[in-house]
């Protein structure tokens, strides 16, 4: 392996080991949370709601929950690892190494995206306990999950560099991500909204992600998946460029 590849692989390994070795903090929470969601929204409420878009409510909700888990975990992973490393200064072992700025960013984003992908799989696994999980368009499903987790890994890097206290991480997760996801058509179909709210919802980027994953799973969408995928990919490229630029400038890392 050439030295550049070794550097990248080492940091990805370090990042992945960090969360893999602490499963009670990283893998158990999404399992429990989603088991609760499925019980309440799927089983208890779902029996009264009947079917939406031709599938049972629990199957309709599942893609939304996958997106919710994937983005919060990939975001949390990147923002936490960077912020915690800055807080305890051990990120300096990386930033004073000969790794290129691009390599550093790529490693943090890759590991965080992987964390999001694992969470998605865990949620689908929990879903399987409650219902059957359709996969209508596996290619789209994979593509959307990858682009979403990469995007939020990239955003998490920005958050981790920007944060100056642990509170910032909570604020970003609880007050920005969660509301956007909850109003991102996770639990309902856009069709149930009055026209005004439907239009407002279309400004929420999460709507496109949820619909994309939903298309991959149950084959139904309210928005063209190719357009969503293209836009999300574009946004991801922009966010990653911002990450590179921030690392290059030493934002949050250099005095």
């Amino acid at each position: 392996m050439n030295p550049n590849a070794t550097q990248l692989v080492t940091l990805v390994r370090r990042e992945v080991l960090r969360f893999v070795r602490r499963p009670y903090n990283t893998f158990l929470p999404p399992i429990i949370t989603n088991a609760l969601y499925f019980s309440v929204f799927g089983v208890i409420l779902g029996s009264r709601i009947g079917s939406i878009a031709g599938v049972s409510y629990i199957q309709f909700v599942l893609p939304g929950l996958v997106v919710l888990g994937a983005i919060s975990d990939s975001f949390e992973n990147a923002s936490f690892t960077i912020f915690h490393g800055r807080w305890n200064e051990y990120i300096q072992a990386v930033t004073t190494s000969p790794m290129s700025n691009r390599s550093m960013v790529s490693a943090y984003v890759t590991a965080s995206a992987l964390r999001g992908v694992i969470t998605s799989l865990l949620i689908i696994g929990v879903g399987l306990v409650f219902t059957s999980v359709p996969v209508s368009h596996p290619g789209y499903l994979v593509a959307f999950v990858l682009v979403i987790t990469t995007l939020f890994g990239g955003l998490g890097v920005v958050g981790g560099l920007w944060a100056s206290d642990f509170d910032y991480l909570t604020v970003m997760n609880q007050f920005i991500l969660r509301p956007l996801v909850f109003f991102g058509a996770v639990f309902y179909s856009l069709d149930v909204l009055p026209p005004l709210w439907r239009s407002v919802s279309l400004l929420n980027p999460m709507v496109y992600m949820v619909n994309g994953v939903r298309y991959g799973m149950i084959g139904v969408t309210e928005i063209d998946p190719n357009t969503s995928l293209a836009v999300l990919t574009g946004v991801t490229v922009v966010v990653l460029s911002i990450d590179f630029a921030l690392f290059k400038r030493g934002y949050g890392l250099t005095e």
Binding site: M1, N2, P3, N4, T6, Q7, V9, T10, L11, R13, R14, L17, R18, R21, G85, N88, E89, Y90, Q92, A93, V94, T95, T96, S97, P98, M99, S100, G250, L253, T254, E255
Partner: protein
């Protein structure tokens, strides 16, 4: 191409009201054991941090083996092993893995990284703690680990920012042995310390910094020679008043209980002239004792009031 190991020119860095670096000029030769002394807040750590990219200087340039610290950051960092003043160790992993990771960040393949990590832990004598996390090490072991982590990438330039702060005598000697061996093998060493004895014993040259600037660079011996020594002469027939001594380098003559106390620059060189002068005046010198200035006194002189010092030496 024989660029020096470190060359800094006109480095300036400001934090709010504090001018941490104020036009620092410094050059460290390859293979040198170089000491950086200076009071708290002199800017030593700030300077070191500009070399590894933790501080972005406002002005000036710094080069490491001819590579610019900003433009060629990868080349520079590839050559540096840094043991920083403050502990900054990854607490998620046992220390052997911390070292493996550090080696990996330097592009060293995994198998070799493992070997290097083992070797580094053995070198600093904490091999039996390899599976422990940083938090569970004692203070001295933590210092040892900082050195091990700096060594693991086999650097050409080893930077040690107060490596012996708060460690016991035994460990201090161990650390000295290790870095001396590294230096003998050709590694350039930049050491900051508040233990003057350490600089005196280890360094080829020392720079004294104050207020973000270099005040002086010299060998420890040279510096000590510049200090004012005290020569105490016992005269067979003590005079009532201190005799006038018209000898170059003598700054003060005083009569004390011990005898005649002469303050002079470079005591060992001036002593014979003083004796000749006294004998010419009819005194008989019964005994002579030269008390050399320690590097510590020189250091205190230079940094406490460097403007006065500048006048004296001008």
């Amino acid at each position: 191409m024989t660029d020096p190991a470190i060359r800094a020119s006109g480095l300036r860095k400001r934090y709010g009201d504090v001018q941490a670096l104020d036009g620092l000029e410094l050059s460290v030769d390859r293979g040198e054991f170089f000491g950086l002394l200076g009071p708290n807040g002199a800017g030593k750590t700030t300077f070191i941090n500009t070399l590894v990219g933790l501080v972005h200087s406002d002005q000036g340039t710094a080069e490491v083996f001819g590579f610019d610290v900003e433009d060629d950051y990868r080349e520079v960092r590839d050559r540096i092993g840094l043991a920083p003043q403050e502990f900054n160790v990854d607490r998620f992993f046992p220390i052997i893995e911390v070292l493996e990771h550090k080696a990996g960040y330097h592009g060293i393949p995994r198998d070799e990284a493992r070997e290097r990590a083992e070797e580094a832990l053995k070198t600093v004598g904490i091999w039996d703690k390899r599976d422990t996390r940083f938090d569970w090490l004692s203070g001295g072991m933590k210092r040892r680990l900082m050195l091990a982590r700096a060594l693991v990438s086999d650097p050409d330039l080893l930077i040690l920012d107060e490596p012996t702060a708060g460690v016991d005598v035994q460990l201090r000697h161990d650390l000295w042995d290790i870095i001396n061996r590294m230096n003998d093998a050709g590694t350039t060493i930049l050491l900051t310390t508040h233990y003057i004895e350490e600089a005196e014993r280890l360094c080829d040259r020392v720079a004294i910094m104050d207020d973000g600037r270099k005040v002086e660079v010299a060998t420890p011996d040279d510096l000590m020679a510049r200090g004012t020594d005290t020569i105490v002469l016992e005269l067979a027939d003590p005079p009532r008043t201190a005799p006038r001594l018209d000898v170059d380098g003598v700054t003060d003559v005083e009569l004390t209980d011990e005898g005649l106390s002469v303050t002079a620059m470079g005591g060992s060189q001036t002593a014979p002239a003083i004796m000749r002068e006294l004998e010419a005046q009819g005194h008989t010198v019964a005994s002579l004792d030269i008390r050399r200035a320690s590097l510590e006194e020189v250091f205190v002189d230079m940094t406490r009031d460097e403007r006065d010092y500048a006048e004296v030496s001008a």
